[in-house]
């Protein structure tokens, strides 16, 4: 098999508070190589294109099927998953950078715990009575199930937050993914019971009112989650909640 080499430039950072620097690598190109297989090649011969040996690059991955959301990074300036980034579909040389809106742990690996904390803030779960057998769940029409299903595919990858002009390292904007989860749980027959609590959470600082409707979130979502629809829906729900609060509290 003939192998050609491709060039990959990687933005590296040794620790959260150290300075980033760039390194360039030559890796063999094989049919259907993706970015993960290139990074694995670098692990097998960790040296730069000038032949300097280096520490292997650190990144996060797991499923390699675009369902776990782990391998998100900025590839040629665009945020996406590395496991579905095919080398022959990218322009060259390829650049890899960590997401910019989350603290870097090391190299391409960032800390997205803020997203999980947000899920706690909006109580993104269903309060069940217990795990014992109390029979069937609520009866639900298929079309409503289908609407929830689309939202439930969110893999907390962070693409929508990376792209959002409103979301930054030093504010506490909740972001599109979180709003969409509020919609998901408010749409469940049992989840509805805690709708008010969730809406209170998105009415505060960093909440839905801070969204500038730039709509870039929806363009980058790899799962095609209708984020702007979710934002509009939650916007509507909060408005109603505000009115209710004014009238009854």
């Amino acid at each position: 098999m003939t192998t050609k080499n491709i060039t990959i430039k990687i933005k590296r950072q040794d620790a959260p508070d150290s300075k980033p620097y760039w390194q360039e690598f030559n890796v063999p190109f094989k049919d259907h190589s993706n970015i993960i297989s290139c990074l694995q090649d670098i692990q097998r011969s960790p040296e730069t294109s000038n032949g300097v040996s280096i520490n292997p690059v650190v990144w996060e991955c797991n499923c390699l099927e675009e369902v776990c959301g782990a391998c998100t990074m900025v590839i040629n300036g665009r945020v996406r998953q590395a496991c579905t980034a095919l080398v022959d579909k990218l322009s060259h040389p390829i650049t890899l950078e960590p997401m910019s809106k989350f603290p870097v742990v090391r190299d391409l690996h960032v800390d997205r715990s803020r997203m999980f904390e947000n899920l706690k803030k909006v109580k993104a779960w269903i309060n069940i009575d217990g795990t014992h057998d109390i029979g069937e769940g609520p009866v639900l029409p298929e079309n409503e199930r289908a609407k929830r299903y689309v939202l439930s595919e969110c893999m907390t990858c962070g693409c929508c937050l990376e792209a959002c002009p409103q979301f930054s390292k030093d504010n506490n904007f909740l972001g599109a993914a979180t709003f969409s989860q509020v919609r998901l749980f408010n749409a469940h027959p049992t989840g509805k019971y805690n709708q008010e609590e969730r809406l209170e959470a998105v009415m505060g600082e960093g909440g839905i009112a801070d969204c500038g409707n730039a709509q870039v979130c929806v363009e980058v979502c790899p799962k095609h989650i209708p984020l702007t629809e979710s934002i509009a829906e939650i916007g509507g729900q909060t408005t109603l909640q505000i009115i209710k609060n004014l009238l009854f509290k």
Partner: protein, 646 residues
Amino acid sequence: MEKRPNSFVVIGGGLAGLACTMKLCEAKAKVTLVSYQAVKRSHSVCAQGGINAAINSKGEGDSPEIHFYDTVKGGDFLANQPLVRDMCYQAPAIIHLMDRLGVAFNRSPEGHLEFRRFGGTLYSRTAFAGATTGQQLLYALDEQVRRYEHDGQVTKLEWHEYLEAVIDHDGVCKGAVLHDLRTGEIFTVGGDAVVLATGGPSQVYGRSTGSTVCTGAAATSAYLQGAKYGNPEFIQIHPTAIPGHDKLRLMSESARGEGGRIWVPKKPGDSRPPREVPENERYYFLEENYPLFGNLVPRDVASREIYDVVFNKKMGIVGEPMVYLDLTHHPKEYLDNRLGGIIDIYEKFTGDDPRNVPMKIFPAVHYSMGGLWTDFKDDGHGLIDHQSPRNQMTSIPGLYAAGEADFQYHGANRLGANSLLSCIYTGLMMGPGLIQYAKNQKKVFENVEPQVFEKAAHKWKDRFSKIKSMQGSENPYDLHRELGDTMMENVLIVRDNTKLNKALSMIDDIETRSHDIRCLDTTHWANPTPSFINQLNCMIHLSRIIAMGALMRNEFRGAHYKPEFDLKQPSDFDPHEYVDYMEQKNYGEVPEESFPDGHLAYMKRFEANNERWLKTTIAHYDEGKPNISYEPVDTSIVPPRPRKYD
């Protein structure tokens, strides 16, 4: 005075670990939940097909009892029956619970759960949530656990690695040695019991359908500490996966069902693009060798034939281990209509459009029926006593295992859509027993001599500093690939004793060379290399017992295909004959003429083979060596009978 809360350490945040955590929290216990990565990214997220429960919502007459029978038969009777039966009886409640947790299961016109048929059963028994059932189930459990985390009952240690169990002077597990994958710190946590819900070991084969973290290292570490490992040799292979340099991705069998043709160029090493290979220079090996079934031969036959063409005949595409699965003879509209979803997956990961070019596929390691040996206590009526602390306990007291990491439930072969069920089932079922165990232990972990914990932590600090100082010549990632290739070539579908012996000596060689590794990265912060070197060591030990188990088991059962020991089932044999035969035997002599020619002789062979091999393989690490022994299987409910392979 406030009562001492029970506290547990659960390792692994897949379906099994999360289900167990939820159940323990409900019983007011405190849980430290440990995982390599954010639990929401655990491998369980990959499952697509669905989860089984015999709810009989379509009035087809399905029942937990039939589900139980299908499961033990599918597993060639190598599973302990009370556990399987209990799982099948709990399954409807499990699905209803998951539904209540908000899983977006597909619905029937009336708004109830929808079920579909799945691999081999005659009943609509598989609940599903679109094409991402595993993801949906995992998220629902993750959400419940987050709720308990919010309430302060769960402490999540993500980006932490389990290294070993802390075992006190009485031989009882009282905690775990953990490795903070960011700071590199090694420390211990105490608990009333430790649960290993650490998933499968498919990375032993290098590339597989499993996730990158499925190394089996945690279970192997327990084995190296003396825990028994059950049925290591039983590895399930899926016949059609998309080969990738990083992973082999599952490709649904519906591609063959819709007329996909499997072929390779007749000339080995032919490097022409497939469409330039003229028809008469193509080898449609399934169609030639099986004129009747052609490309629709059963799963195991397809896997074996592909393997034969690639490894024995060396006819893989351009010398690589793959063959073509060709759909290009169908019109585009037809393909979009019937196979749209899977065509998109192929396109996404290869960039090639199967409407225009044949797909390249190869069988892939998919699931491990083997795992840590675990105990159970039946209730005397063919189900499980849910209060028993013995349930899911490994042979090390206080150390438990659940999910794909344990060996129960699937026997010699896993029934499709049963694994998700077994993971959630074990997680939930073991809860009450764990609480009983915690209440009745002789000595709580707070009273264990501190030296026990210090010694355990010290051992691992020492081991990691030794790893970091390794300056040899081998690259650990290369060596891993070599181990995987060795296993793929010699311990996969078709098992031949000469090759298994060869694999064992190659594993020895890889082990020797693993002492000459260079630790590529010796820094302290967020450095994955030393961990990987340690995991590689575990994978080497595990590959050895997989190969040894396979070598020693001289029979052909389930996923373990050893042609040399084929019992040669007559083609017109009906498994019911065996039931008659057993009945007649119970009454005395069996008259020779009561069965068709050759059938009685076959049944006698079957009986004798079961006498010898209907046993659990137990691998036990003792004095630095693996030992293989066998243990009886509980077949008290359904007597074993031949399985018909068609």
